[in-house]
Chain length 345, copies 2
């Protein structure tokens, strides 16, 4: 359902002199289903009612309707706004404002849940930017004056940002047979300079840490629409591992939205076991790391290898290391030695 449909529902209730009631799926842990088959979290079928006749629910209900009108306007005018913009748009004593940005972010999540669409489909984005590079031509489908224009993703030697418009492109021509995803900008630059896109026939993606949803959407499209296998490389620590899990199994936080996960993506490294195998400079895990690993060990997503094996290894060896540590063997080592072995394996 689009925000317009939701607004229509509320309008119809009011027209019938009914106090608006909205049904939406419950987003708490008790309604989170781990789907073994697709290997991802999804929201269950339990629902809850936001009832305008309860005093406490009048405010969030009105805020939700207001956000739906903004989303509707953005979609029809083909403009985008950031989460922060949206927060400020309402920060006006004459409107129903938000306590803080967390409140407006949460209500956007409510609208996502109600409509079963992602905020990116409403044209609402966070600020982060990740990047892409590869021998591939795409055609913009938005904004209006870019429709039909094409760009080759090798045109800038430092990559092209994956902004709001990049997720919606049409794929025109592809000279690549895989996608390599890396967490770190330094490694992305390394891949560009060593021409990894030529040598491995690969589209290169830089997530810039925990991948923004645009990046997850685009990687999924490359995998599902073009059947390109996806290989993910991140730091050997619980946070890097978390990035790979988010991309392949989804996150609890966005389990209410379809279309973000690439279940067939392969987590390829850095493994905890790579630290000793490649004799990499490493650091001791801190308390926060260990705590995070213990909670990851109880996660239904990590019951199988490589997740299980690597979490156990982290907890045994208590060491972590970053992707850039390969630089100790020279700038080319990662591309010349590590990558080929991992892509074969």
């Amino acid at each position: 359902m689009r925000p317009e449909g939701f607004l229509q529902q509320v309008y119809n209730q009011l027209k019938r002199f009914e106090i608006p009631k909205i049904k939406m799926k419950k987003r708490n842990l008790s309604n989170l289903v781990y789907d073994e088959e697709t290997r991802q979290f999804r929201i269950g079928d339990k629902t809850e009612i936001r009832d305008g006749s309860h005093v406490k629910q009048i405010k969030p209900l009105t805020q939700l309707v207001w956000i739906a009108t903004v989303a509707n306007k953005l979609m029809s005018s083909d403009k985008t706004c950031t989460l922060r913009d949206l927060y400020y748009m309402a920060k006006d004593p004459e409107l129903i404002g938000f306590e803080d940005q967390k409140e407006s972010n949460d209500l956007i999540t409510d609208l996502e849940t109600t409509c079963e669409m992602s905020r990116e489909q409403f044209n609402i984005y966070p600020e982060e930017r990740s990047e892409i590079f590869g021998r591939m031509t795409v055609e913009y489908t938005s904004p209006q004056d870019y429709v039909g224009r094409r760009i080759n993703l090798t045109i800038n030697p430092d990559g092209i940002p994956i902004g709001p418009r990049m997720t919606k492109v049409r794929f025109i021509e592809i000279h690549a047979n895989k996608v390599i995803v890396v967490e770190k900008g330094a490694v992305f630059t390394r891949l560009l300079e060593e021409k990894a896109y030529e040598r491995f026939n690969a589209i290169l993606v830089h997530t810039a840490g925990q991948p923004p949803r645009s990046t997850r959407i685009l990687v999924r499209r490359l995998n599902q629409e073009l059947r390109l296998p996806v290989y993910i490389f991140n730091d050997a620590d619980p946070w890097g591992l978390g990035i790979a899990m988010t991309m392949t199994c989804g996150s609890v936080k966005s389990s209410h939205i379809p279309g973000l996960v690439t279940p067939d993506a392969k987590w390829s490294g850095l493994y905890a076991t790579d630290i000793s195998q490649y004799n990499l400079p490493s650091e001791k895990l801190n308390e926060k790391d260990v705590k995070r690993l213990l909670s990851l060990r109880n996660d239904p997503r990590t019951k199988l290898d490589p997740w299980k094996r690597e979490i156990d290894e982290f907890l045994r060896n208590k060491r972590k290391c970053e992707l850039e540590t390969f630089s100790r063997y020279g700038l080319e080592y990662f591309v010349n030695n590590y990558l080929p072995r991992k892509l074969e394996g």
Copy 2:
């Protein structure tokens, strides 16, 4: 002097059986000169000697020579590396390693001081990326396989990253008569969507917070080589003001390097005085903000308006606000109302 020249000096000393001694300009505050005429900090003429016959100086001297060989190799092979890469490249028990990245970063600054070149000229970069968009065609001069290739900076509707290669382009064709620089990604997106590049005939630059040096180099080139006036917009808080100061008067930290500052750039907003004038949602300054303002008030760079006037206003009103707050008046307000007034004024 290029790193090669520096290495030659050391080599010549060794060949004459002399223990190497290196002269470099002092970087402490006592040797910092504020040049009223050019309105920027520069390093003075006092020098110091790094003397290899002092036990304590053997290690940093050797590290410096090692870094110079890396810089020399990067420059001749036309490859780049990040500050983090460089730290890891030496992290090997067989080499002289670094305690932490601060140590290797500091030694890169030593090499900059010795050679009077910036690390970007050595092809050593931090990770941050900022962005550019505008009706302008540029031609790459590096890397090798991009030499002579051209890109139009409107080709991607979300902008083009200002990576290592963008600072060295040749300017081919320009349809713009000014540069608008903004601190925030949300505002950059707003400018793109409202076609500010057309309406104001402007090249748009996003600094992503405190501008990386590549951004400062590129903005300076646009101003000095193409004679385009530059307008800077940032948050109305001491940190935003600091960004504008770094771009127009230089920072203490990089006073030893020429070529980063755009003295003719105009700091155009957000002013502290804009908060009341435009009735913007604002927040109370915290202790850290006030402390920073008090130290800025004693800075030789802020003796004149608008700096002086705005710092006084901050300290009087004790309020700050972000660029995105204009969204309260609708997404178009910033571009339709605020910008035109500021560009005229």
